[in-house]
Symmetry: C2
Subunit: 312 residues, 2 copies
Amino acid sequence: MRTIISLDIGGTQLRAAVYQQDRQEPIAQKRIKTRASEPDTLGRLLKLIEDVIPRDGKVDAIGASCPGPVDPHTGVIMFTPNIKEWRDFPFAAKLMKSFGVPTYVDNDANLAGLAEWKFGAARGHHHVLYLTVSTGVGGGVIINDRLLQGSHGLAAELGHTIVQVDGPLCGCGQRGHLEAFSSGTGIERFVADQLKAGRKSVLNPAKRNSAHDISEAAKEGDSLSIEAYHIAGKYLGIGVANFLHVFNPSVVVFGGGVSQSGPLLFDSFNDSLKEHVIHPRYLEGLKIVRAELGDNSGLLGARALAELKLEV
Amino acid sequence: MRTIISLDIGGTQLRAAVYQQDRQEPIAQKRIKTRASEPDTLGRLLKLIEDVIPRDGKVDAIGASCPGPVDPHTGVIMFTPNIKEWRDFPFAAKLMKSFGVPTYVDNDANLAGLAEWKFGAARGHHHVLYLTVSTGVGGGVIINDRLLQGSHGLAAELGHTIVQVDGPLCGCGQRGHLEAFSSGTGIERFVADQLKAGRKSVLNPAKRNSAHDISEAAKEGDSLSIEAYHIAGKYLGIGVANFLHVFNPSVVVFGGGVSQSGPLLFDSFNDSLKEHVIHPRYLEGLKIVRAELGDNSGLLGARALAELKLEV
């Protein structure tokens, strides 16, 4: 029976869980604060792993989910938001040295997609498009039952594809990316710009209005807030139409907080998707569903990655 | 020793070739006019196959390359430009009935990409982005040494991704697709619009100027023609930047007539690609090369498809 240690490295929490192959639930798990501004995040992580490791010590592999660009082929974390001391950080090598078992790492969006395919909303599908829509827009893609990673492991950065040349500024510094339109940050920026230009709204122009504040205002009928989500949904439909033409998946899974906005986002999304697909066959049999795994997608995705690697 | 019959179904020519596994060159080949406006294209194709089939009659599989959307999982050609009588046409089933061997079919751009990976400019790479830039823009993608096909086989329609919402009209009826900017048709449309608006040029506003006419005028220093290719190259760079973020390939292969325009297209392409990539690592070690197989890419791609299917 295989034992996998699974890690979810977040900006606020470090989580570890131990899975055994025949059980969906972990046999042990623990979480601690990341304390990313303090040195030696690695030391805290190693201690956390020791705390959950089975008494007999037998572990077959470690899998880890980490935000930011990661090279899954070398196990090097290029950088990760919050943990500033990890730059070109040989993560897998460090863990292999400490625990003597193969260690696999990939970014959080890829692994959330993998988790939904293996354990969640995309079970049984061979071609999966997973999109997380929260502060950013991230992607995870399964093609022929395999995770899309690319030559340096930098594939599926779906939020950073241009849908409007010279469009609004994205968090990455480029313009016109899908993320600049359809993420929480994009929604907030649109509203802030409109308020600054004197547009009337129930929202206070003097304070920072979050995507959640804006969705609440929209539910009260605020036209600016409704429009902000309408635009986000329209561009999300354009982005997904592009990805249907690129990947032709049989299921689209939405994760992330903004994707829980219901009809406020998805009415315009659905109209836009239908309008921008080049042939109705792309929509034939296509399922569009919500992610099922929530906060556990990182742990389960890291587990799935390690299990897949052991099978090869 | 395996024997494969390979078919390249074009609007003007039907080609057939017989390959044996250990030889790169066909042991027999023949081509005839398609005569697409006349009935019974299938009859002509079957006769062509009979003309090249080895005397001992032993054939292991048939592979076919066909323009337009094809479902490679069912072998049904949804439609193909020129051959109007083939609509939802059960191509593979018809050939299997006639010759009693497995028959595989996919679209011409996918198979040109597969051919370049197996026999041409992308040999040895595991992650390949192939783009044909001619009257349209088509794509073929290899991920982990496997052809990207998608759930209905409609993936990699890379020319039909939006880079500019509400941009110029594409041949497919949608707006702002990469193909509307960077294909020969896109270049021609831009020039025609500018001439109509009274822009000065050595080109005759009263006649239809082809992409080739425009490239000739550009070489003579015509500023409108130079600008037309410059724009095509700029948007091609944007499209390829998007696809690097999506696929993270180690090689980009350009086929098609327009991609032979040299610096006229590729100076602005290179500038644009560098400008729009979100991280320099996408360009690290990336090769950008011209296709090597020319007119034989369809036959060699169909052969590669059949050989891969027999190996599975």
